[in-house]
Symmetry: C2
Subunit: 346 residues, 2 copies
């Protein structure tokens, strides 16, 4: 993968590798008291914390044929920060565990860490600890993210009420179409290694898949506008799946309006090219890392003024079910076809 220098991990050993990877870390958040280098890190949180973890496994969550290692490191942090923002909290610390086989060089691991550090810098988060170990085969990255927020402002999934408006940030389905393009080009490459890989014109959707961002800006907008969503979740498994989580945990129904669902032009066109109904990309394609949330009707004007938030539906009495109101004027039950790594595998 790397053409230049190749240093074997074995020449450094675990402690040497950790020293090399963590030598430039500077803690920025006041709650980060002590980072890497002891049995545990030390945190002095100013207020209530939220904590989340996600494990990314080679061959399940990423394919190194088309995933640059730096992007992988970056994304492994982002998916966790997105969970922290989905609680209306501000991420402060991360811990990163990596299991790697000796097919990777020290330089390759440094690339992963470059991506991790880039995300830390951009999102003002401290890397305070982790674990690095061998793997017989493949690469596994586990990230833990810790955030802070006053207890009264933490937003969970189970507090939506009938009459609340359903909102989503950004646009949906792009990461899924990006993955679809990458998988097609991988097949082209595998069938004819000399063929040219055609990613031109797909920058937006490929970027959504390989280098997603988390919605730090939206949490800051909520704080500025004194909005506390009545419930929130991030979109990692697809809009359908996340709406069903909100409804089930809040004991409410929902009407989702198809014509409100934001889909980028590039996503829309690429879906049609692949013979996929664009709304299905948004409903079932995962990994957009946008925020799905409900607000009080009294916050409607504030939210409407934000250029990157769409109001896409309304929460209903539980007995009315969870429905998609189509552009054609029909109602369909929303069912979860979301990305599910455990079912996919079977």
């Amino acid at each position: 993968m790397e053409k230049a220098k190749r240093t074997e991990i074995s020449t450094l050993g675990e402690f040497g590798l950790i020293d090399k990877l963590t030598q430039h870390i500077q803690l920025k958040n006041t709650s980060s008291v002590k980072g890497v280098g002891d049995d545990a890190a030390i945190i002095q949180p100013a207020t209530t914390q939220v904590i989340t973890t996600d494990i990314l496994v080679e061959g399940i969550h990423f394919d190194l044929v088309y995933t640059p290692l730096k992007h992988l490191g970056y994304k492994s942090v982002i998916v966790n920060l997105s969970d922290v923002y989905a609680m209306n909290a501000t991420p402060k610390q991360i811990l990163v565990s990596i299991a790697i086989s000796n097919r990777f060089s020290v330089e390759a691991i440094e690339e992963i860490y470059e991506g991790i550090q880039l995300a830390c810098t951009k999102y003002n988060v401290d890397l305070i600890g982790g674990d690095t170990t061998a793997s017989p085969k493949g690469l596994v990255i586990n990230v833990v993210a810790i955030g802070e927020q006053e207890k009264s402002k933490i937003v969970t999934r189970n507090t939506a009420k009938e009459g609340d408006l359903l909102c989503v940030t950004g646009d949906l389905g792009g990461a899924y179409m990006g993955l679809t393009v990458l998988q097609r080009e991988k097949q082209v490459f595998l069938n004819a290694p000399d063929a040219s890989i055609e990613l031109a014109g797909n920058d937006y959707i490929v970027g959504r898949q390989l280098k997603p961002e988390a919605r730090k800006d939206i949490i800051e907008f909520f704080a500025e506008e004194n909005i506390i969503p009545t419930s929130m979740i991030d979109i990692s498994d697809g809009l359908s799946s996340e709406i069903l989580h909100l409804c089930k945990q809040s004991n409410v129904g929902c009407q989702l309006n198809e014509d409100g669902v934001p889909i980028a032009n590039e996503t829309y066109d690429k879906a049609l090219e692949f013979g996929i109904d664009p709304i299905n990309c948004a409903l079932s394609g995962g990994e957009d890392y946008e925020l799905l949330f409900t607000i009080l009707p009294s916050d409607k004007n504030k939210v409407n003024a934000h250029p990157d938030i769409s109001i896409i539906g309304e929460m209903l009495d539980e007995n009315l079910g969870v429905k998609l109101f189509t552009k054609g004027g029909n109602y369909h039950d929303i069912i979860s076809l979301g990305w599910n790594s455990l079912k996919d595998e079977a």
Copy 2:
């Protein structure tokens, strides 16, 4: 592996599996505000926190030929709690990420979780979150442990001083000899599957390897006796490696007295049977999860009164180096031959 019922993971999917595994969890610690079931767990810590994580990889850290899944779950928690105790803190919460291939049944994962829950109950820790996903091959478990302690009582590795006494809990080298016996019996089994596996008479050392405990009792003893160690680390990589960490980070030297190093009779006899010098089991064998710490000389009598703490040496001026004083009256430099998964692999 399991002879009885076998439910395929695919019949439940990720959310069904998580529901099944977490349905009986009850949070016990006041700082655990909300556990599994949202984008993140919520914690309201009473004081300063410590946080640590360890990743365990099949084929590197454990061998399922001789490791019962319940023990594996238990041990994966213990190794993290041990790191929390090594900070003189009390563990309160854990998060568990598991990546599993579909060669495992739901019942197999339930066995792992039984071990995890058993450790939680015994050590009064809450399982508040995690992640469960597919793996193309093999089993990976990542555990995060969070503990609490007043900031002034947290003990790190870098605060030992010349004249402090070096102490260790329990006895050393047992887990390594247990592993040696298990690996021998595995070879016997592989060479002749009908041969009988001979673990009788090795209960203590095999138990040290498969089902270690963390030294909760010692942290409680420190609190009762108003002892704050001047530095502390847990023994996961072997006594040599841990002493070198304390000395390097504290900028001190050390004299370790061989005749003070506690080795159980069963460990001692088994080492001789395998032609290994017992002191080397203690120095270089890992995974004992005992605590290595330094105390002020004024705390000597209190520590001496504890039946399971041995005073094994003294911290010296840095220029005197890190030495083993042998039973034969000689001085040897202590070098690290500790277990190191990244070097082993090479």
